[in-house]
């Protein structure tokens, strides 16, 4: 009995760890897409953020400066995206794709030029990383059955970014559905002309959304390299930006469901290696690859409208041109 509880907490614990970058990137994409800017470039920003955070942290020895650099890198990428898709009215999808390649190329190139370790940044330790925080009473409650286990292992003992990610969900929900900014944000993604007519700048609003996007996804990137791992390695985002995008679509661009979907995708990731080689009743052995592909397959099925319908913000992908 105890062993099962320990097992379950362990799996849930790694579910949380694996879901954090997805949650942050998903919420990031939510702001951007709700404002009418499609963001295929989440993957690139995540990667750029991870690299900048690790590089800065390695050089300065401070995880906080690393975090700042991660956000900074994501801001630069968001800026380029904004320039292409808001000012030059270019194709947002193409711009996002370009940014993904830009991140993949630049992080490896700069990493090799600066550190000469084949794309790795130096190993980080101590204050160069965000270390686990033990919440109050975790030690005292350790002996309480079930509750102590859950509180001590699952809720306590994560790094600060994890808590930030989970707090960001209700905050986003509040901003989006309860604040004036959120109302405008949703409106500009559905009908920018109405916003313009009301005397609010579409350009300004969309740039504001892109800035929030960059901050969140930059934190997500920093999580990958200086919280979850101890340094950057090549292509370490490994498609998480795309999974986050899939989660966003799956959640129909809403923060609460996005959290649940990200946790589900994190869970799939967490059980991947546990089920390898194990046989299940009725289905037999489930190949690892099937679990890996599941988030993508589910998203395609959802997009096809077989299980509900995912309708994107109406103005997403359309550059806004003011009438003359």
């Amino acid at each position: 009995m105890d062993q099962i509880l320990v097992d379950i907490t362990l799996i849930l614990d790694s579910t949380v760890r694996l879901a954090v970058p997805l949650i942050l990137a998903s919420l990031a994409g939510l702001y951007s897409e709700r404002s009418g800017i499609i963001d295929i470039g989440l993957e690139g920003k995540l990667l750029a953020g991870a690299f900048a955070a690790a590089a800065m942290s390695a050089v300065t020895g401070s995880a906080w400066l690393g975090l700042l650099a991660g956000v900074g890198a994501a801001l630069v990428f968001s800026g380029i995206h904004g320039l292409a898709s808001i000012n030059f009215k270019g194709n947002q999808t193409i711009s996002g794709v370009a940014l993904n390649f830009l991140a993949a190329g630049l992080t490896t190139f700069l990493g090799q030029s600066w550190f000469r370790r084949g794309g790795y940044t130096p190993q980080l330790s101590g204050d160069q990383r965000f270390n686990p925080i033990t919440l109050p009473f975790a030690e005292e409650l350790r002996d309480v059955p079930v509750l102590g286990q859950i509180y001590g292992e699952l809720i306590s003992g994560h790094n600060i970014i994890t808590y930030v990610a989970f707090i960001a969900v209700p905050v986003t929900a509040w901003v989006l559905f309860r604040s004036r900014f959120g109302l405008r944000l949703r409106a500009v993604g559905e009908n920018p002309k109405a916003i313009d007519t009301a005397g609010i700048s579409v350009t300004r609003l969309r740039y504001q959304a892109l800035i929030i996007t960059a901050v969140l996804v930059g934190i997500g990137g920093a999580y990958l390299s200086i919280a979850q791992s101890a340094g950057f390695n090549n292509n370490m985002s490994a498609g998480r930006g795309y999974i986050a995008l899939a989660a966003l679509i799956f959640a129909k661009w809403r923060p609460g469901p996005a959290l649940l979907v990200c946790l589900m995708f994190g869970f799939l990731d967490a059980i991947q290696f546990r089920i390898q080689g194990q046989s299940f009743p009725f289905i037999g052995e489930v190949p690892v690859q099937a679990i890996q592909a599941l988030p993508y397959i589910l998203t395609v099925v959802l997009l096809a409208g077989f299980i509900g319908r995912a309708v994107a913000p109406k103005a997403a992908g359309v550059p806004y041109t003011k009438e003359r």
Partner: protein, 362 residues
């Protein structure tokens, strides 16, 4: 805004954008304390300076022509196909299956069958996103991205669990016999020694002509372009948009699968994990840079072939620069020719139509 003269629109603007991309690339190289001109020199030598280097350049060019056409074809119909990477990967399954079935037979028989069988697999893989776009309205950009990932998992399973022969350690299929493989040009042309360029290169050149004919000289091509320019008008003109979307996506997948003929049939002679290795993604840059026209696609594929082969040389000669610089250039090319393609249009247009200065000269 006044429209530009045709030659400026077709030649000058893209050239300007590409130059801009390379300038920014040069600045990045400069920023890490390396000499970009020296880098260009080394790349040119690596790509064209000696026989096997040139052979490699043409081998990469072959891949990029097919991938570029796969993106271009769909783009003519207004669809952004990000999936050539996965379509080529799945196409590899078709190529190896027919190759293994006829293993030991002469390539002259197997080569055409590899083309057909590979094309069918690639087309099927691209048809699904096409179908979902046409019938269910799911956006082809997202579905092709998802299908790239699904292809990686599916092919990983097929290669490691089904095709891998007993007693082999690495994840790969059984090899094709030498006589069954697509012959490499070094067998005929001494210049190409040690390089993998093979007969598929000529198939790529033929594909360029074929696509020109198909898009600009047939009724089908007219329908494709009509759909791409104005879906509503196309529909009124009696074109079935749904049918066209599915056909063009399948066709794009078939072209992408030729990357597999080049690699699985002509180079490795077996199906290995991730053999496409990013070639499908290069196709995106190639298509935008070449503006979807076969001449443009051919030239930009050659440019990227040069970059990839020259980049290899670069990594040997200048340790401070990695081959990933090429991915950066690729990104900048997509950014400047694809996403910000019209950035220079305004200034250029003003330059051409300066009201009084130009008139005063006459």
């Amino acid at each position: 805004m006044t429209p530009l003269p045709r030659w400026a629109d077709v030649v000058l603007l893209p050239l300007l954008n590409v130059t801009l991309a390379f300038l920014v690339g040069g600045l990045i190289v400069l920023s890490v304390g390396q000499n970009p001109l020296q880098a260009v020199g080394i790349m040119l030598y690596g790509a064209f300076g000696y026989g096997s280097g040139f052979g490699y350049t043409l081998y990469y060019t072959t891949d990029f022509i097919f991938a570029g056409l796969a993106v271009s074809l769909a783009y003519h119909a207004g669809l952004f196909n990000i999936g050539p990477e996965g379509q080529a990967y799945v196409g590899g399954l078709g190529v190896i299956l027919i190759g293994l079935a006829l293993n030991g037979m002469h390539w002259a028989l197997v080569f055409p069958l590899m083309i057909i069988c590979g094309a069918m697999f690639g087309a099927a893989w691209a048809f699904i996103p096409g179908y979902l776009q046409a019938k269910r309205g799911s956006h082809v950009v997202i579905t092709t991205i998802m299908f790239n990932f699904i292809a990686v998992s599916m092919m990983g399973f097929i290669i490691s669990r089904i095709l891998k022969p007993e007693g082999v350690n690495s994840d790969e299929s059984a090899p094709l016999e030498a006589i069954t493989r697509v012959p490499q040009l070094r067998g005929f042309i001494e210049l190409f020694r040690n390089s993998p360029v093979n007969l598929t290169f000529f198939l790529a050149i033929a594909a360029l002509f074929f696509v020109y004919w198909l898009i600009w000289r047939t009724k089908f091509g007219y329908s494709v372009r009509a759909l791409g320019n104005n879906p509503v008008a196309a529909n009124y003109a009696g074109i079935s948009n749904q049918k066209m979307i599915m056909i063009i996506m399948a066709l794009a997948g078939a072209f992408a699968a030729m990357v597999a003929v080049n690699n699985v049939g002509g180079v490795q002679g077996r199906l290995i994990l991730n053999f496409v290795n990013g070639a499908g993604f290069v196709g995106i840059a190639v298509a935008f840079m070449g503006k979807g026209h076969p001449i443009g696609v051919g030239l930009s594929a050659l440019l990227f072939g040069m970059l990839y082969q020259g980049g290899q040389e670069l990594a040997f000669q200048m340790p401070g620069i990695t081959r990933e610089m090429i991915v950066t250039i690729q990104a900048l090319v997509i950014l400047f020719t694809g996403a910000m393609g019209d950035m220079m249009r305004g200034p250029l247009s003003r330059m051409f139509f300066q009201p009084d200065a130009a008139a005063g000269d006459k």
